[in-house]
């Protein structure tokens, strides 16, 4: 039985990404071991420390950055995280200086907002109603 244990986000700088994803978004570092020229670096939600890990993966492959830039150009998030209350989370993150390209938006069954992770990605936060 296969189990989903990890998902990735491609970042331009692992140290900067770790700072943003822990200090701003509030994730907790789980694994940090050297892996060649980079690190195997994962974070988890404090609410689910044994849950799915987010791998902060270097975007060094030549195809990665043009892809990321094209997504940002159209405002498309690279991935999505769940929150309890999108409006409250937007306020909290703005207080920490996080930049939003889409304010909290009620789309019917779901409320979403989109932020800039400062590592080359837009990230959607969402709460089902």
């Amino acid at each position: 039985m296969l189990r989903i244990n990890i998902t990735s986000v491609y970042v331009d700088d692992q140290a900067k990404a770790l700072a943003f994803y822990t200090e701003k978004l509030g994730f907790v570092k789980k694994t940090d071991v050297p892996a060649g020229a980079a690190r195997w670096l994962t974070v988890v939600s404090a609410a689910d420390p044994d849950g799915v890990e987010l791998l902060l993966e270097p975007d060094g492959h030549p195809a990665a950055r043009p892809f990321k830039e094209a997504l940002v150009d159209d405002g498309i998030p690279f991935t999505q995280f769940a929150v309890e209350d999108v409006h409250a989370e937007v306020e909290r993150l703005k207080g920490l200086g996080v930049r939003f390209v889409q304010e909290a938006t009620d789309l019917g069954p779901v409320v979403t907002a989109v932020l800039d992770d400062t590592c080359g990605n837009l990230i959607q936060i969402a709460a089902m109603k």
Partner: protein
């Protein structure tokens, strides 16, 4: 000779009218946000490419302006061209 063919063409499509409605609701949206609103709030199944083309038509008519801000691209409504309609066929 019709003075504003682009304007009337732009307004003649239901999806484009909904895009303008959504920009009135909140001005300055990314393409992704516009697509999300059309899909989730209006049940439209237009592809992102189709919505891009609708935005290009609205831009051509001067009803939408694209503002680049660093790596971001936001779409803003401009109702200015609609004055031509009121001037041509005054209401009261």
């Amino acid at each position: 000779m019709d003075a504003e063919p682009d304007l009337f063409k732009a307004l003649g499509d239901a999806t484009r009218r909904i895009i303008l409605d959504e920009l009135v609701d909140r001005d300055g949206q990314t393409l992704f946000e516009i697509c999300g609103r059309l899909t989730m709030k209006h049940g439209l199944t237009s592809s992102r490419q189709a919505i891009s083309q609708h935005l290009a038509v609205l831009e051509q008519a001067g009803l939408v302006h694209v503002r680049r801000q660093g790596r971001y691209k936001f779409h803003h409504i401009d109702t200015g061209p609609l004055r031509a309609i009121a001037e041509r066929w005054p209401t009261d």
